[in-house]
């Protein structure tokens, strides 16, 4: 097993004929993901790398039975793309796009139909279950099938840590980038719950950063609800207050949003927290013993 994406994923790419959408569709096809449809308004009837392109998600779902979508459309149109996916019954929707306005995301996050689906992102690298399905922009070569789940607010930091795991011979069940924005579809807790319920996942790596209090809530959740060990890493101890550190959501605004506060909450809950990316792999190796 894995979480969110696996052999049964039938993927639809929103913005398949765009530069980013096209580039990553080729990569996802190369890693044997079942890409069943693409959507680009006005280009219905065409094909992209053998994948049929539709004008609307409505048509694409009807014709192909897609159950998951990945969004590469530009930020001004991203919320609309998410609504279109939700309204057409897709179970898992992943928005890669960076720079989606916060107010757009608040509307999406409160949309009643979201309750029947899982939205990952925006501003995220996607989801990848090694050897099963790749719905992401992550470099698949550094992954290896295995038993460690990875959930993260950051892209390259995830790659760094996954690479260290793989080099130690430790494989991954699924890696999920939940996104670096202030408002995201799915927080750590929901992903931790899925990993807890996944019999194949024996340890989870959680990669957090400054901004918000999602790490604290995850720590409380782990303490009361989880058996699976979690190894955590938090970035941004040196971040100054009030400055956005690359990710729109990575900003220290007092109290709970600091790396220090998050790290303390993790330790208080009994979660092993690494001080650098290399130590994460060491702690995972210990946890798996």
């Amino acid at each position: 097993m894995a979480i969110l994406v696996d052999e049964n994923t039938r993927l639809l790419v929103q913005g398949i004929t765009g530069r980013e959408g096209g580039f990553h569709t080729r990569r996802m096809l190369a890693s044997k993901t079942q890409v069943v449809a693409g959507v680009t308004p006005g280009k219905g009837g065409q094909e992209f790398e053998g994948v049929p392109v539709f004008n609307t998600i409505h048509d694409a779902v009807e014709e192909t039975g897609a159950n998951t979508s990945v969004i590469f459309v530009p930020a001004p149109f991203a919320a609309d793309a998410i609504f279109e996916s939700l309204d057409n019954g897709l179970e898992t929707v992943c928005c890669i796009t960076e720079g989606v306005p916060v107010h757009d995301m608040m509307r999406v996050a409160n949309y009643p139909r979201l309750q029947n689906a899982t939205l990952i992102g925006p501003n995220c690298p996607g989801m990848l279950s090694p050897g099963k399905s790749n719905v992401s922009i992550m470099p698949q070569d550094i992954f290896k099938p295995g038993r460690v789940g990875v959930v993260s607010r950051s892209g390259t930091l995830t790659y760094q840590i996954v690479n260290e795991l793989t080099q130690r011979g430790i494989g991954q069940s699924t890696a999920v980038g939940i996104g670096g924005d202030p408002i995201i579809g799915t927080d750590f807790i929901e992903i931790l719950k899925k990993f807890e319920d996944d019999p194949e996942t024996e340890c989870v790596v959680m990669i957090g950063e400054i901004g918000g209090n999602a790490e604290q809530r995850a720590a409380e959740y782990w303490q009361s609800e989880m058996e699976t060990p979690v190894v955590a890493y938090i970035a941004g101890f040196t971040a100054p207050e009030g400055k956005t550190m690359g990710h729109a959501g990575a900003i220290v605004s007092g109290g709970e949003s600091t790396a220090e506060a998050k790290s303390q909450a993790l330790q208080k809950a009994g979660i092993r927290a690494a001080t650098n990316p290399t130590e994460v792999a060491e702690l995972v190796a210990e946890a798996l013993k």
Binding site: V100, V102, R107, L157, T158, G211, N213, A235, H247
Partner: protein, 383 residues
């Protein structure tokens, strides 16, 4: 994007928020003229993008145009928490009966707008939360529905307001929510919101933060950005689309990906060093972009060594190494640059670097090793 008080007030007036008449002044003479126009008591207020200006002496209440000129002379040029005062807001006086607090923020956890109202205004809301938490009324809104009239009533009644005050605050709240939505704000805060002796409800201060991601649909607000107040390196980075934040240390830092760069800063600090900046050059191996980033990082005179931390992902390590070499050739940086290359094709990348690099470029295999090296080089004095 944070706005100055006078900018925030002007935008909020467009949504029906009432304020006192005010004029922006950049010289003591302008402040004097404004005070003369208003007559009587006026407030001279430093315009800075930081809090705590009152405590720092950035707000003066004066009784005559001459006093206004003196006060303006004192406040202009003042440094408030690292921000130089270059403009003042000269505002007419008012007879204040009571001070309140009103804000709307984006609650990340609830994923909803959050209204905070308190009859205790004029002090930090954190302080009120600590000393008089019962005076704060909170309410989450459904952004798909907006602020409903009953919710406004619920807030004002819960706060114990009556008569004109209740109506005035209710109206202000309704308008402020329109402003919050209309401006794509992540924060609108009025502290204090005052009730005058004549029964008017006025915004005496305004703090507005607009979501950067929404600026494409608010060209007018984007143009309000104060280019002069920005740090020169941060300004240049903004122009070329690089994520750069200046810090106080002497180890310049670049990397690909926000999380990895944040982690790099932390590792440098753990190795006993002081990061000089955050700089995310993004994915890819575009030599032009890398050389611009290197140039920005090293144009900060404090920088004594540079740590370039790269994880080769979809853009492979060998491509990144070639891009980096060509970038270094374009600049004439003599400072020591420690490059740590990991990820796909990292070995190929490292050997390309080893064979071709100028003497000031050192390669390291691990992040910790590279951090150590960069810190040592900065201590040795770099240039």
């Amino acid at each position: 994007m944070d706005l100055y008080e006078h900018q925030g007030k002007e935008l909020l007036r467009g949504f029906g928020i009432e304020t006192l008449p005010g004029v922006v002044a950049a010289t003591p003479e302008e402040a004097k003229r404004a005070a003369d126009t208003f007559g009587g008591t006026v407030a001279i207020k430093a315009q800075v993008l930081t809090g705590g200006r009152g405590k720092a002496g950035g707000i003066k209440v004066v009784k005559s145009p001459d006093e206004a000129e003196d006060a303006a002379r004192q406040v202009l040029g003042m440094d408030i928490r690292g921000h130089t005062v270059r403009k003042l807001l000269v505002e007419a006086g008012a007879a204040i009966a009571s001070e309140m607090y009103l804000s709307i923020t984006v609650d990340r956890e609830a994923k909803k707008p959050l209204i905070l109202f308190s009859t205790e205004g004029g002090v930090d809301i954190e302080e009120v939360a600590a000393t008089k938490p019962e005076s704060i009324v909170r309410m989450h809104l459904d952004p798909l529905v907006g602020l409903l009239p009953y919710q406004t009533r619920q807030i004002t009644f819960a706060a114990g307001l009556e008569g004109d005050a209740a109506k005035g605050v209710g109206r202000t709240l309704t308008n402020l929510y329109k402003g919050f939505e209309g401006l794509d704000a992540s924060l609108v805060e009025i502290n204090p919101l005052v009730l005058t002796e004549e029964g008017q409800v006025l915004a005496l201060d305004a703090k507005v933060t607009v979501d950067n991601s929404s600026l494409y649909r608010h060209q007018d607000i984007a143009e309000l950005r104060d280019v002069e107040a920005a740090d020169p390196q941060e300004e240049r980075a903004q122009e070329v689309g690089l994520q750069y934040v200046k810090l106080d240390g002497d180890v310049g830092i670049l990397g690909n990906g926000a999380g990895l760069v944040m982690s790099t800063l932390d590792v440098v600090a753990q190795a006993g060093g002081d990061p000089a900046n955050f700089c995310d050059v993004g994915g890819g191996a575009d030599a032009e972009k890398i050389s611009t980033a290197l140039d920005i990082v090293t144009s900060n005179e404090k920088v004594k060594s540079v740590f370039f931390n790269i994880f080769g992902g979809i853009t492979r390590g060998d491509e990144v190494a070639r891009g980096l070499l060509s970038a270094i050739e374009r600049t004439n940086i003599e400072l020591p640059i420690v490059v740590r290359l990991d990820g796909t094709n990292a070995e190929e990348g490292r050997s390309i670097l080893a064979e071709n690099t100028p003497p000031n470029v050192k390669t390291e295999e691990t992040m910790l090793g590279a951090a150590q090296r960069a810190v040592e080089l900065a201590r040795e004095g770099g240039r």
